[in-house]
């Protein structure tokens, strides 16, 4: 048996040995509860758990943290689909189509598709992780500002395909998102921008209160203003359409989209600093690009499958640089690296040779927790979908209170609550007057990545440290961008 497979088997045996299995189960359950609370990410829970693990065996620590990395991902989509509240930032891409599905009485289908895409997406990410782990140490250092820049451009160009209705209005919304992404301290120029003398804005706008405002609070205003009786427009469970089976099968019916989104998620996950939000939005953009029916954004199941599979596939990808090079790919993996350091586990060559079974313990715990959340999610799809027939006058208090606490809990700042309220009003007006909120948030997420790496690439090129056009990865990315973007623009122009 090859050494990698032998280590994988040993790691799997360690996970399923009693009482080891209790650690990933406990971690998954804790992550599931926290993921339902908007604004609180898995990373926050991971940080909170550090003091608990001080006296633990490193094996048990990895079992717990593997589950904490993976357990939160799917559950965040539950509130996104049912209440238009993203459980965490990446789930904001899921609500674009997930919530309209719930409004059509198809919450069951959306939740089941989300759970299935999550489980299979994470499986894809873990398979790639196992396959690429021995090679990754040579690949990651080759990714630099030029590649980051092209990824950001890819995402920004995808905005053009997401816009429904007036293209110029969509572009203006994206422009506004970009302008707001420039708020805060510009590290490269050592200057503060658009803070108007306030300390609060020096860190830039925090994504979580902005998302909660744009989607959850604006939706609450809309629910009250429209006088809607329930979210789905139905009052009895028999009137709800869709089914769990339909949702599961939808992922297999759109297997091409699932695979493409999982590849995007894994690749974006591997790249340090990008994270699940970029993965989910880039995958959503790619799904919208191939939407010939023009139904994306109106409650299309593909709009749920794409971001959810990418978001979960990213977990496997993000462990690659973490385990192989000790480079965190996300906030969660940064906390994980800290915990590993506390317990004397050193990532890199040592972990990938003698410590390989231990690395696999982490990978299997992640895999197990991803599947556990999805299986539990599928089991409770029916009762969860009943939320869409609850009277809005009873539903508004939990939505509003969760949004308020979520905005506060992310950074512990009361000002974030008021920012969420402000963006709630903005989101409502954007929705009312047909300005694309999706284009706005995508530009807001990708703006800093685009600007920093544009300037770094130009500097490096000017100083002769890189030759942009001779980098194979740049050429591959440019070809991918051209292949995915040009035909869509041409098709749009022709139609």
């Amino acid at each position: 048996m090859p050494p990698v497979l032998a280590a994988a088997w040993e790691g799997l045996t360690l996970v399923f040995t009693w009482p080891n299995i209790l650690y990933p189960i406990a971690g998954t359950l804790a992550a599931m509860v926290v993921a339902l609370l908007p604004g609180l990410s898995g990373a926050a829970l991971m940080a909170l758990a550090i003091p608990v693990t001080f006296g633990w065996d490193p094996l048990h620590v990895l079992l717990l943290y593997g589950a904490l990395v993976g357990g939160a991902t799917f559950m965040g989509s539950v509130t996104a689909i049912l209440l238009n509240i993203p459980g965490s930032a990446p789930n904001a891409a899921t609500l674009i189509d997930g919530y309209p599905m719930a409004q059509k009485g198809m919450a069951r289908t959306a939740l089941a598709a989300s759970a299935t895409a999550s489980a299979l997406g994470s499986t894809f990410g873990v398979v790639v992780l196992i396959a690429v782990l021995p090679l990754i140490a040579r690949i990651i250092p080759r990714i630099g500002p030029a590649e980051y820049l092209l990824l950001a451009i890819w995402g920004l160009l995808a905005i053009g395909t997401l816009i429904r209705g007036s293209v110029s209005k969509g572009l203006a919304a994206a422009g506004l998102g970009l302008m707001l992404s420039f708020i805060g301290f510009d590290m490269r120029a050592a200057d503060v921008r658009f803070t108007f003398g306030t300390l609060y804005l020096q860190d830039g706008l925090s994504i979580v209160p902005v998302f909660l405002g744009l989607f959850a609070i604006s939706e609450t205003i809309d629910l009250i203003a429209s006088g809607r009786v329930t979210v789905s427009g139905r009052t009895h469970v028999e009137e709800l359409g869709g089914s769990t089976r339909e949702g599961i099968l939808a992922v297999f019916r759109h297997w091409g989209l699932f695979l493409k989104s999982s590849v995007i998620g894994t690749v974006v996950g591997m790249i340090p600093g990008l994270g699940g939000t970029v993965a989910a939005f880039v995958a959503y953009g790619e799904a919208a690009r191939t939407d010939r029916a023009g139904t994306m954004g109106t409650g299309d199941i593909r709009g749920v499958i794409a971001p959810e599979s990418a978001n979960d596939a990213k977990d496997g990808g993000s462990l690659l640089p973490t385990l192989a090079l000790g480079i965190p790919a996300s906030t969660g993996t940064a906390v994980l690296l800290g915990v590993m350091a506390i317990h004397g586990i050193r990532p890199g060559q040592e972990l990938l040779s003698e410590g390989l079974p231990l690395a696999f313990v982490l990978i299997w715990a992640l895999f197990l927790s991803n599947w556990m959340t999805s299986v539990v999610g599928l089991a409770i799809v029916r009762p969860l979908s009943r939320l869409t027939i609850v009277r809005t006058r009873r539903l508004i208090p939990p939505i509003a209170v969760l949004a308020l606490l979520g905005a506060f809990a992310y950074r512990g700042r009361v000002a974030d609550v008021w920012v969420a309220m402000l963006f709630g009003a903005l989101g409502y007006l954007m929705k009312k007057y047909d300005w694309s909120r999706v284009a706005f948030v995508m530009a807001l997420v990708l703006g800093p990545l685009f600007e920093l790496n544009l300037q770094l690439t130009l500097d490096l090129q000017r100083l002769g440290r890189i030759d942009f056009w001779s980098r194979p990865s740049v050429l591959v990315l440019l070809a991918l961008i051209a292949m995915t973007t040009v035909p869509t623009w041409v098709r749009r122009r022709v139609s």
Binding site: V33, V34, L37, A44, L45, L48, S168, K169, L171, A172, G175, L176, L178, M179, F182, D186, R188, A189, A190, D191, R193, F194, F196, I217, T220, I221, I224, A225, S226, G227, R228, V229, T230, G233, R234, T235, H236, E239, R393, R394, I396, P397, A400, V401, L404, L405, F408, A409, G412, V414, V417, M421, G424, A425, L429, K432, Y433, D434, E451, Q455
Partner: protein
């Protein structure tokens, strides 16, 4: 008429405003003015910090200006929006906005446990037309849930609010 149908009727009523309304013009004007302010603010920045915001901001101002003109022209062509639907929606907005502003205001004044609990009681009693017992029970549940989840499970320190310490 079934309740579901009635509900659909209400949804129909909520169809969003199209271009050319006073609201649409005002909103576009606000976005335009905000972008102009940001663009003017780039004058005080170092050149390297200002270059990208200007490259985005200048075409954005032109684009928003174009939309502003389009909205004004659309209003001239179409005339005022149907009064009944507009008035109903606007009265809904006048209810929604103060209620939602009350929540963070209460949280800031009375803290993140008492404030939301009082808001839930008030909402359910006044807007939800629930009995006082149900509203109070929901308020108590809100306080306990916030304490258990945020303070207990996650160890978060919830602000007591400006007057919270006195309670």
């Amino acid at each position: 008429m079934t309740e579901a149908r009635a509900n659909h009727g209400k949804r129909g009523r909520s169809s969003h405003a199209t271009s050319g309304s006073t609201g649409a013009i005002t909103f576009t004007l606000m976005l335009f003015a905000f972008t102009v302010v940001l663009l003017v603010a780039t004058r005080g920045l170092r050149p390297s910090a200002a270059v990208v915001p200007r490259a985005v901001g200048l075409p954005l101002v032109v684009l928003l200006g174009y939309h502003l003109v389009r909205e004004i022209l659309a209003r001239r062509r179409a005339g005022p929006a149907p009064a009944v639907a507009k008035a109903e929606r606007e009265s809904g907005e006048l209810v929604a906005v103060p209620w939602l502003l009350l929540l963070p205001a209460l949280a800031t004044l009375l803290g993140f446990v008492v404030g939301p609990a009082i808001w839930v009681v008030a909402w359910l009693r006044i807007r939800g037309r629930e009995s006082l017992t149900v509203a109070l029970a929901a308020g108590a549940f809100t306080a306990v849930a916030i304490l258990a989840l945020f303070a207990g499970l996650l160890g978060a320190t919830l602000p007591q609010g400006i007057f919270g310490a006195l309670l």
